[in-house]
């Protein structure tokens, strides 16, 4: 059985590492991209089951990437969760019209991200022996 694929698109390396860390105890394949253009290419190459997408990025922002995805037959139904520092109603309604499944405002807690992700894809925990040691 293939593992669920998750694509994290954010220009902040810190944020991508935080997303990666949130999934550390779950069986999934995680891909990363640093802007919308890279994200689009990574989505076409890997066909993720879910994309965690930042809004404000250089080169290509999250909304432009979303618009491009919705015009592409291979990606138009790919679920997207927006993870953004911006919380204005205008942005939230814009991305809702583009079919975003959920919106998380930074700062975020792992539990919040995981609960929204597991509403969309099935995530199974890694066996305890495979889980990384906790960071003290």
């Amino acid at each position: 059985m293939s593992l669920p694929k998750i694509l994290s698109v954010d220009d902040s390396r810190t944020m991508r590492m935080m997303v990666k860390r949130a999934f550390r105890n779950f069986q999934c394949e995680l891909f990363e991209a640093a802007d919308g253009a890279e994200g689009l290419a990574a989505a076409l190459a890997n066909k993720p089951d879910l994309i965690v997408l930042d809004y404000n990025m250089p080169v290509m922002d999250g909304v432009t990437m979303l618009r491009n995805m919705r015009e592409n037959p291979d990606l138009k139904r790919t679920p997207v969760i927006m993870l953004s520092a911006e919380d204005s109603n205008e942005i939230i309604s814009t991305v809702a019209r583009l079919g975003v499944r959920d919106y998380i405002i930074k700062p975020f807690e792992d539990e919040n991200l995981l609960s929204k992700v597991t509403r969309i894809i099935n995530l199974e925990r890694k066996p305890e022996s495979d889980q990384p040691a906790a960071v003290l």
Binding site: S12, T14, M17, P58, E86, S88, K106
Partner: protein, 158 residues
């Protein structure tokens, strides 16, 4: 009719709310208001700055934290010790989170703008200065023994 260019929102409240949320939710650290600015001589700090630019608004959000606190925050955020670029990126992300809230407040108040990407520099502490047509919000916080300085400078047009 006089059109006021003064902001109908309190950026000091926004700064306080967003900083406290980041510290409690993301860093799991407590934050208290400082009674005075950090007077440690020759202390070098990271400056993380994000601009907000619109037709009727120009704003700068500046977060200043010590090298030691930046390293500590990075470790909490990414789960391991960070190197130079990782510490800079994490410091920028902290400022970005605050700036997103400031941008939203400005948009709600009728001053929409575009958020820039964080710029990071390192050096002596900077104090932004306001002119007659700008507003400056300067706040100082303590986390353990570390000083956190946050300044927001806004210039709005009718």
């Amino acid at each position: 009719m006089m059109i006021s260019t003064r902001l109908p929102v309190s950026l000091a409240e926004t700064a306080e709310r967003s900083l406290k949320e980041i510290f409690s939710k993301q860093l799991k650290l407590s934050l208290l208001p400082a009674e005075s600015a950090d007077e440690t001589p020759d202390l070098k700090v990271f400056h993380a700055s994000v601009s907000i630019t619109g037709e009727r608004v120009k704003a700068s959000v500046l977060l200043q934290i010590s090298e030691a606190f930046a390293a500590k925050a990075t470790k909490i955020l990414i789960g391991c010790d960070g190197a130079g670029e990782e510490i800079e990126d994490a410091t920028g992300e902290l400022c970005n989170m605050i700036s997103g809230r400031v941008k939203s407040e400005l948009t709600t108040a009728g001053f929409p703008g575009i958020l820039g990407t964080p710029t990071i520099t390192f050096g002596s502490r900077i104090d932004l200065r306001n002119t007659t047509d700008s507003e400056l919000c300067r706040t100082e916080w303590i986390c353990g023994t570390d000083h956190i300085n946050l300044q927001i400078l806004t210039h709005t047009q009718p």
